[in-house]
């Protein structure tokens, strides 16, 4: 039944398959085929579809078809093994272009000329060869710069929910991202997995209007593309990013959206293979798989370039303990969480104060990086805002009137923090100084004695003294105010 034959210039082809199920095709009695090898499946109409080998034995090859199995039949299908794992031709010329989820031109341009081909799976970076990320990136957003600073080489995802403005926030970050000392602009690699056409259109338009398209590469695996294709899209994008960063020495900002769609595709393939599911049906190796994407960020010895990664994911039902945000949070260096309540109150960007975190901030801010008071200010703002949350809980129960004078001040502080510090315009690009000054403005609505985390020297320098005495229970406070 399974015959093989040679077609001129097209190598060995196998005719027929024994099973087709979901995205998987099983071809029997193959020879000289490697694990993870790229495959071309030629459908009855004669069009090639790309696939890759998931499991190979002497008897059979299990192939994952990246472009869908619709219209394939066991009898008429032909398979060609390409003799290498999935590779992407990489080149600097790809900047300014739009590609599909597998790296083929999706604009009117020709395929890029390139002598270099890279395995999209990449290789793990030797931890010993990494350079620790330190340089502060100014995004122009106070909520990020002031409280959850991003540094070059970091991977910082945005945890969002359906209907929240993560697209606008990420587009703003991509427009405004700058390094402080040098006026270096980032190259951008943008990969969209399973997004709708209008979202793709939003990003392309945004990039074009701001003039950022010329230094950006976009990969789109749209919502109606075969879901398996999405498994390769982030890898394709990161392969190019690695080339731009570590071969060409550029600073690359990679935006991956939406990782939840990616994970769903992974689950789909895992289920089709009959794998034992883990939490919520996601495969047990979801963590390792996500790590193989997220860990492709950073800086290495011997190259001036860097890859900074921002992955957007929508939390199903806003649940941060859902496996996708949960495992992501374990791998990435912090997270920016968007908050529905802030959004509904009209705060933009609605970046939640407490659950957001940048793990690398401590090494990229402060003296020599931004300003000496930055770490203390952020820490104190966090602490006070955490207390605001408690006071608000209390006010809900006993009513605002019953609160102590100090607690009322905290409520005022909370309001100021959200409306003046967090809130800003979509086209407002704040410098880090503006952000810090604003932080002190807001913090100074509280009495000095409440700022336990700020040293006396910093208080003296930055605390805004008011005409009236701070309302404080302590009569002795008067002496310490001056």
């Amino acid at each position: 039944m399974h015959t093989t034959f040679d077609v001129e210039d097209r190598g060995l082809q196998y005719v027929g398959s024994s099973r087709i199920e979901g995205p998987l095709v099983v071809v029997e009695r193959v020879r000289d085929v490697g694990y993870d090898e790229t495959v071309e499946i030629i459908d009855p109409a004669g069009h090639p579809r790309l696939g890759r080998v998931l499991d190979i034995s002497e008897k059979q090859a299990v192939i994952q078809v990246l472009e869908g199995t619709t219209g394939l039949s066991n009898k008429a299908l032909r398979t060609r093994f390409l003799g290498e794992s999935f590779c992407l031709p990489v080149s600097r010329q790809m900047l300014g272009r739009v590609f599909d989820g597998l790296g083929r031109p999706a604009d009117d341009g020709p395929p890029p000329l390139s002598a270099e081909k890279r395995d999209v799976n990449g290789m793990p970076i030797n931890p010993y060869a990494r350079r620790y990320p330190r340089e502060f990136i100014q995004t122009g957003l106070s909520a990020i710069d002031g409280m959850n600073a991003l540094v070059r080489g970091q991977k910082l995802p945005i945890f969002s929910g359906n209907g929240l403005p993560h697209d606008r926030v990420s587009a703003q970050i991509m427009r405004q991202a700058r390094l402080l000392d040098e006026e270096v602009e980032f190259s951008m690699v943008f990969a969209a997995m399973g997004v709708k056409h209008d979202v793709a259109e939003f990003f392309i338009r945004n990039f074009r209007e701001s003039g950022a398209l010329a230094r950006a590469v976009m990969f789109f695996s749209l919502a109606d593309a075969p879901s398996v294709e999405r498994l390769l899209t982030p890898r394709v994008a990161l392969t190019l990013a690695e080339h731009l960063a570590f071969d060409c020495g550029q600073h690359v900002l990679v935006l991956l959206t939406d990782m939840t769609n990616y994970c769903e595709s992974l689950r789909e393939v895992g289920t089709a293979r009959g794998e034992i599911p883990g939490r919520k049906g996601y495969p047990g190796y979801l963590y390792s798989d996500l790590a193989s994407i997220y860990e492709r960020a950073g800086r290495i010895e011997g190259s001036p370039g860097s890859i900074t990664q921002m992955a957007i994911l929508t939390m199903p039902a806003d649940d941060i303990s859902h496996p996708v945000p949960d495992l992501t949070g374990y791998i990435t260096e912090g997270q920016i969480v968007l908050d529905r309540e802030l959004f509904q109150r009209g705060v933009y960007p609605p970046i939640a104060g407490l659950p957001s975190l940048s793990r690398l901030m401590k090494d990229g801010v402060g003296k020599g990086y931004t300003r000496e008071d930055h770490p203390t200010l952020a820490s104190q703002l966090f602490a006070c805002y955490a207390y605001v949350k408690r006071v608000r809980g209390l006010a809900d129960v006993i009513g605002e009137e019953e609160l102590s004078v100090l607690d009322k001040q905290y409520l005022k502080f909370g309001e100021a923090f959200e409306m003046r510090f967090l809130n800003q315009g979509e086209y407002e690009n704040r410098t880090i100084e503006t952000t810090l000054e604003l932080g002190w403005d807001v913090l100074s609505t509280l009495p000095k004695d409440e700022l336990h985390r700020v040293s006396d020297a910093l208080l003296k320098k930055y605390y805004r003294e008011k005409e009236e005495k701070p309302v404080c229970a302590a009569p002795l406070a008067e002496g310490t105010v001056a």
Partner: protein, 603 residues
């Protein structure tokens, strides 16, 4: 049978991710190391059925084809033990990462083979035995100054006993050079500075001992409230963002163990880079030497092959046991054991094993027990007291402690440092929750602490009780607000706040605060409790809480942890004096008799 004939028959017949099935493996042994394909990818036999072997491969198997040759090595996965381990950084199967970088650049290429120790480097060997002496296994026959902090003892390998026939004089030798010949019943045996030991087998000891001494970590909440003993086992569970890794780093930096083994198991690459960057710069508070001179790092980050992650834990603990055998106290930090358990799960699924809870293999508890039981306080073969302490981070999905890895880990550890998301959100670090954590070593190490402070147990209990009462009062406050509480109860809230900010929270980045000596921990706790006891008496005497709150000493107590260093204990004495004087003054103002006050909690 010759090696060549085995090579020709053994070949791969199926490849599925990191699992390769091979045929013609009738001579293979369980856990034998094999090399797969022309690149010689390192793998380990994990299942034998007939002449078929299932191999777990430690490197990426892309483009390995059925028919690829399999080469057996005849030995189980072993590590090299000898001078040169300390200060090094290895991957999960003990390949030195600096060596790999030298060979293949910033990326880890497959099939790269670099010896774990430099066989060409000369070490100055100093003999400790003379010819004619009878030496048993574990006995030191010489020593090498491995780093300024570590004198590396060259020991008679386990299983070897006899009379020293010859030993070299003091001089420079390579680790593979024979430094002594021991005449055994089976004939003369060469002893080199290099030993090899299979990672999955615990190294022998003479006997296990009771734990009596705390592992001082310089972290107040741990040392004072939930101490771990030298030879103990502890777990740090916490959801993401709760500061597991920072806490682990803090412990690895400041623990008073002789050797630190830090296993980065399935975690972030940048975190290992941070350790590599920081440790050589940080000074050990006891010796003043760079911390790297007593540290061994194992880094198998999350994007490195999953099978090597599984074995990295064993690699780390074997190195720890080797230094323990020299009579040292060793501390192992594994970050994170959940990633290791996930590697087990992933491999079990590939092997099509029947899953138990949440897909983890049914052998998970056994494997966890085997790991944690390799720690302990022991008498070594040479008769010395030594210990391996283990601290394992656990990353429960969704921060839910009822998941299998956390639950099973709890069965095999005696010290539980529960990290709390709410504390972390308020940036209270270390976010170890004082009510959810426990230590069963308190009694064991109590005697040691009593030498520092006779009333240690009482101080600790008083502080913990206070925090417990505060938690209950907070529930009322959440309902009705703090103003309705009487001053006596609000004092508890007030003191608990000082306790949290001024004692429990500890900055990992503040120069004075990052390491807090046991003496200073006690002094700080005493000051806070002095204020508490005095405050209680004052309130009974009719002094309003607001007066106590506004004492000048209060902000100073809050900042004392970072204002004074470990060598400024006298400043803390002054502060305590200030607390006493100010409270005394208040008493004089309000209480006619003036002398109602209790004595301060000190000796």
């Amino acid at each position: 049978m010759t090696d060549a004939s085995r090579t020709t028959e053994s070949m791969a017949i199926r490849i599925s991710g990191p699992i390769v099935t091979a045929a013609g493996m009738h001579a293979a042994q369980m856990y034998e190391v094999v090399q797969v394909g022309s690149l010689g990818l390192v793998g380990e036999v994990v299942k034998l059925v007939g002449d078929h072997a299932t191999i777990q491969v430690y490197e990426d198997t892309t483009m390995i084809k059925p028919g690829a040759p399999i080469k057996c090595t005849g030995a189980p996965l072993s590590v090299w033990l000898g001078p040169g381990l300390v200060g090094n950084i290895y991957d999960g199967i003990q390949r030195p990462l600096p060596g790999i970088q030298a060979a293949s650049g910033a990326w880890i290429r497959r099939g790269e083979k670099v010896a774990p120790l430099d066989t060409g480097k000369l070490w100055t060997f100093e003999p400790l035995v003379k010819p004619g002496e009878v030496v048993a296994e574990g006995r030191a026959i010489g020593k090498v100054a491995e780093t300024p902090l570590v004198d590396h003892l060259i020991m008679v390998p386990p299983g070897l006993t006899g009379t020293v026939r010859s030993v070299v004089g003091k001089g420079d030798y390579k680790i593979v050079d024979t430094v002594a010949v021991v005449e055994t019943q089976a004939g003369p045996r060469d002893v080199t500075m290099l030993q090899q030991w299979p990672v999955r087998m615990p190294r022998p000891i003479r006997q296990r001992l009771r734990i009596t001494e705390p592992l001082i970590t310089g972290q107040r909440i741990i040392d004072t409230f939930f101490p771990i003993g030298k030879g103990g086992a502890a777990a740090i569970p916490g959801g993401f963002g709760t500061g597991k890794t920072i806490t682990q780093h803090q412990l690895a930096k400041w623990s008073d163990a002789d050797i630190i083994v830090f296993i980065g198991c399935g975690e972030r690459g940048n975190e290992m880079t941070e350790v590599l960057r920081e440790f050589p710069e940080l000074k050990d508070p006891r010796s003043g030497r760079p911390l790297m001179e007593r540290t061994i790092l194992i880094a198998n980050t999350s994007n490195m092959p999953v099978a090597a992650r599984e074995v990295s834990i064993y690699t780390g603990i074997t190195l720890a046991e080797y230094y323990r055998d020299m009579g040292r106290s060793v501390a192992v930090f594994a970050d994170s054991t959940s990633r290791w358990a996930e590697a087990l799960r992933e491999l079990a699924a590939r092997l099509e094993e029947m899953p138990a809870e949440e897909g983890f293999p049914a052998s998970l508890p056994t494997r966890l027990a085997q790991f944690y039981e390799r720690g302990g306080a022991v008498t070594t073969l040479a008769g010395e007291r030594a210990s391996v302490s283990i601290v394992g981070a656990v990353s429960p999905p969704g921060g839910d402690f009822s998941e299998p890895v956390t639950q099973h880990t709890r069965r095999f550890i005696r010290c539980f440092w529960a990290l709390d998301t709410e504390l972390a959100n308020a940036r209270h670090y270390p976010s170890i929750h004082w009510l959810h954590s426990y230590s069963e070593y308190v009694e064991d190490v109590g005697l040691w602490w009593k030498k520092e402070a006779a009333d240690w147990v009482e101080l600790r209990t008083e502080a913990l009780t206070l925090l417990q009462r505060e938690e209950r009062l907070q529930q009322i406050v959440q309902l009705v607000g703090p103003d309705v509480l009487p001053d006596g109860q609000r004092l508890i809230l007030f003191i608990a706040e000082i306790m949290k900010d001024g004692f429990l929270a500890q900055s990992a980045f503040d120069e004075n605060d990052m390491y807090c000596s046991p003496e200073r921990q006690i002094a700080l706790l005493r000051i806070i409790l002095t204020l508490y006891r005095r405050g209680r008496d004052l309130i009974q005497g009719g002094v309003p809480l607001t007066r106590i709150r506004s004492l000048n000493c209060v902000p100073q107590i809050m900042r004392a942890k970072s204002a004074f260093g470990n060598d400024e204990l006298e400043k803390l004495d002054e502060l305590k004096q200030m607390v006493m004087e100010e409270t005394e003054a208040l008493a004089k103002e309000y209480i006619k008799e003036g002398t109602l006050l209790c004595t301060p909690p000190s000796t």
